[in-house]
């Protein structure tokens, strides 16, 4: 596979071999017990007895085991995303990934026991250092935090802030309250002080129904509908004044798509004009703030019937500096660097999406 890609002389393959930053890679443990050595004895015992208690009640049989590519199961056993060797072979070497950002989706922020969640998050971050960042210099990681308790989350951010291999704070697109609410503000202060963006990734469960209209029935709805929660979260961050309160804060929306953002900016600008009384703390048109402070990863890319419409959309969005290419390895809807971006997204724009924007945001040398 690696050899084929290296020999392919098509323009698409050649451009794909140019250095790439992958802004969304999912590493995991081979089996849950692999985290135990990083947990204090007290929590290890609790974990063995009660497991991870989180908000139940929104489970969907998924299309693929572990929602993964069928070829991503490591030959040595364990879950997709748990083998660094296979990740090198299928992703880092295969596509000349210069930097890849690890976003482990291990639910520490969703644990109902907040103190356990904090220990769990700390263990995940220690595990990332020991088993991913130390052995593989191309990898960077997001900081897992117990985000429903801001003081505990702040402590974890501060614990990692000195390690430059941690490049952002990881939150989920579904939380107990909209992320603009004041309970979350201390985290933003800590991220801002550390010079780290906040990353909001697909998923999470805050305990309320997963949509404003209750719980849907199918994984199709869960998957396609996640874009609506990203819209809710961005609306909250803008209208609750987070960007005014934290002028250095940048936010990355990960795995939420991006085509919805242009119409949302129209809607937010219009609402802001109509309800200025209520939003007196929001001092600028929302679209101005978003165009300066909000970044989005590309996968999953919306696919219009004519690819030209995607180029036209990006022209109108005027956010070419804020889109970050991502593969979502090892998940089933993986975007390959040479195929995911349609040819109409070419030239300088392509290079910015594939590499330069992420290097600037995450301060890669």
């Amino acid at each position: 596979m690696t050899v084929d890609a290296a020999r392919d002389r098509s323009p698409a393959a050649r451009s794909a071999r140019a250095a790439i930053v992958d802004a969304d890679i999912h590493n995991t443990w081979p089996e849950p017990a692999a985290l135990d050595p990083y947990l204090p004895e007290r929590w290890r015992r609790l974990r063995a007895r009660l497991g991870e208690r989180l908000h139940p009640g929104a489970q969907y049989p998924r299309l693929n085991p572990a929602a993964a590519r069928t070829d991503a199961w490591p030959p040595e056993g364990g879950l997709p995303g748990s083998s660094l060797d296979l990740m090198r072979d299928q992703l880092l070497d295969r596509w000349s990934i210069e930097r890849g950002i690890l976003n482990p989706l291990l639910e520490a922020g969703e644990l109902l026991n907040l103190e356990y969640g904090a220990a769990f998050a700390q263990a995940i971050n220690d595990w990332q250092v020991a088993e991913w960042l130390e052995p593989e210099p191309r990898l960077r990681a997001s900081i897992t935090v117990p985000y429903e308790d801001a003081p505990l989350a702040v402590a974890e951010i501060e614990r990692r802030a000195g390690d430059r291999r941690f490049v952002q704070v990881l939150l989920a697109s579904r939380t107990l309250e909209p992320l603009g609410r004041r309970r979350y503000w201390p985290m933003y202060g800590a991220a801002e002080a550390a010079g780290l963006p906040i990353g909001i990734h697909f998923g999470g469960a805050g305990g309320f129904p997963t949509t404003a209209a209750g719980l849907p029935s199918f994984y199709f709805e869960e998957h396609a509908g996640m874009a609506t929660v990203f819209q809710d979260q961005l609306t909250s961050l803008v209208f609750e004044g987070v960007f005014e309160r934290f002028p250095g804060l940048r936010v990355v929306l990960i795995e939420g798509g991006f085509a919805w953002l242009l119409p949302l900016m129209w809607r937010l600008d219009r609402t802001w004009r109509m309800l200025r009384d209520e939003l007196a703390h929001v001092t600028r048109p929302p679209s101005h703030t978003i165009r300066e402070r909000v970044f989005l990863t590309t996968q999953p890319i919306e696919e219009p019937p004519q690819p030209e419409l995607l180029a036209r959309l990006l022209d109108r969005m005027d956010m070419d500096g804020q889109l970050l290419f991502a593969t979502d390895y090892p998940h089933w809807d993986f975007d390959a660097p040479d195929r995911a971006l349609p040819p109409v997204l070419g030239g300088a724009r392509r290079d910015r999406l594939l590499r330069r924007n992420a290097c600037a945001l995450y301060r890669f040398g």
């Binding site: 992320l179 404003a212 719980l215 199918f218 809607r267 999953p300 919306e302 036209r312």
Partner: protein, 347 residues
């Protein structure tokens, strides 16, 4: 050629529960008088919000500019409209007592039929339903099914479960039997938060977030196969805007191709289902004028939009802006009336 105009959203608002009392049974009349019940508490549509009543329609005497038939007659006259679809948003869905919700819904509908429809022959009615009790909602549709000027069952877009959920099948079956459209309107009081991630602080967030709820409902109705089950279902999105629709459909068609084996009864791309079954009220135009041409071009069908004033909501500043000059002919003429005439099967 005389342009045909149909206003597909004009509001008919209950100003006081006293207006409904004559349409209530003696039992519920007694409840209203003995308990001091003043009707549903409508958190999602604060009466003073400019989005709910445009500043230019606010009256010093406090009378709501959609509480009497004469108010709406003036709107239809202004546009020389042939018909206006009355939408009443009385929030019976927020009343948890199932019998009270059903009694109030019936009273509102009788009030519309007996006091509004006779006042102007151009009026058509939408039914208010006790949607928290789908069986009762279906019975209410059946009760008024024969009325020639009832054209739509109106559901709040916020709900306890997405409307594709099988618990709501009786409602769609009743609308199908009655041959009326199903309309989704902004707001709703199901008890769960107005976002998929909890309760926001500001009304502005609820307001800005409303299109996302319409997206959720559309996704549900498509995924659950409701349009396959009811081949004649006509679904109106009233107040959703449409700027979001192209990006939403691009994503949906892609996801359907990737995930259709989970929902094998969905046999067509979502864009094709929307093009056939769904129509959208023109207002609010949540698209800047300079972008309107591009968005119209990207919609999944030509005849998707239906003119409305959305009176007395604040969607535009000058009356003429209800049908903006930026929309080119011949699309403009169809939006003005032809699409709604076909959709609501008006003469």
């Amino acid at each position: 050629m005389v342009r045909r105009v149909i206003d597909c959203v004009v509001h008919a608002e209950v100003a006081s529960v006293d207006q409904l009392v004559p349409h209530l049974s003696p039992h519920w009349q007694a409840v209203v008088s003995e308990t001091g019940f003043r009707g549903p508490y409508v958190a999602t549509q604060p009466a003073g919000a400019p989005t709910v009543c445009a500043p230019r329609f606010a009256r010093p005497d406090g009378v709501v500019e959609a509480s009497e038939p004469g108010h709406i007659t003036r709107v239809l006259d202004r546009w020389s409209a042939d018909a206006g679809i009355l939408c009443c948003e009385y929030a019976v869905d927020g009343i948890r007592n199932p019998d009270a919700a059903a009694a109030l819904a019936s009273a509102v509908n009788d009030w519309l039929v007996e006091t509004w429809l006779p006042a102007d022959e151009r009026f058509r009615a939408s039914l208010v339903l006790p949607i928290a009790q789908p069986e009762a909602a279906a019975a209410e549709i059946d009760r008024l099914a024969g009325h020639p000027r009832v054209v739509q069952a109106l559901l709040p877009v916020r709900s306890a479960a997405p409307y594709g959920d099988r618990r709501y099948l009786p409602v769609f079956a009743a609308a199908d039997r009655a041959g009326i459209a199903v309309g989704l309107r902004c707001g709703g009081n199901p008890g769960n938060p107005p976002t998929g991630t909890g309760w926001p602080s500001y009304f502005a967030e609820e307001h800005a977030g409303m299109p996302a709820v319409f997206q959720t409902q559309l996704l549900s109705l498509i995924a659950e196969g409701v349009f396959e089950r009811f081949a004649d279902l006509r679904l109106a999105l009233l107040g959703s805007g449409f700027g979001w629709l192209p990006a939403f459909v691009w994503r949906l068609d892609k996801e359907w191709r990737g995930m259709r084996r989970e929902i094998p009864w969905v046999r067509r791309a979502p864009s094709a289902t929307i093009a056939e079954h769904v129509r959208i009220a023109l207002q609010p135009i949540d698209v800047p004028a300079a972008e309107l041409g591009a968005v119209l071009d990207e919609l999944p069908a030509d005849d998707l939009l239906m003119f409305c004033t959305d009176h007395p909501r604040w969607q535009f500043d000058a009356d003429d802006d209800a049908l903006p000059a930026a929309i080119p002919e011949p699309v403009r003429a169809r939006i003005a009336g032809a699409v709604a005439r076909d959709f609501y099967r008006l003469p």
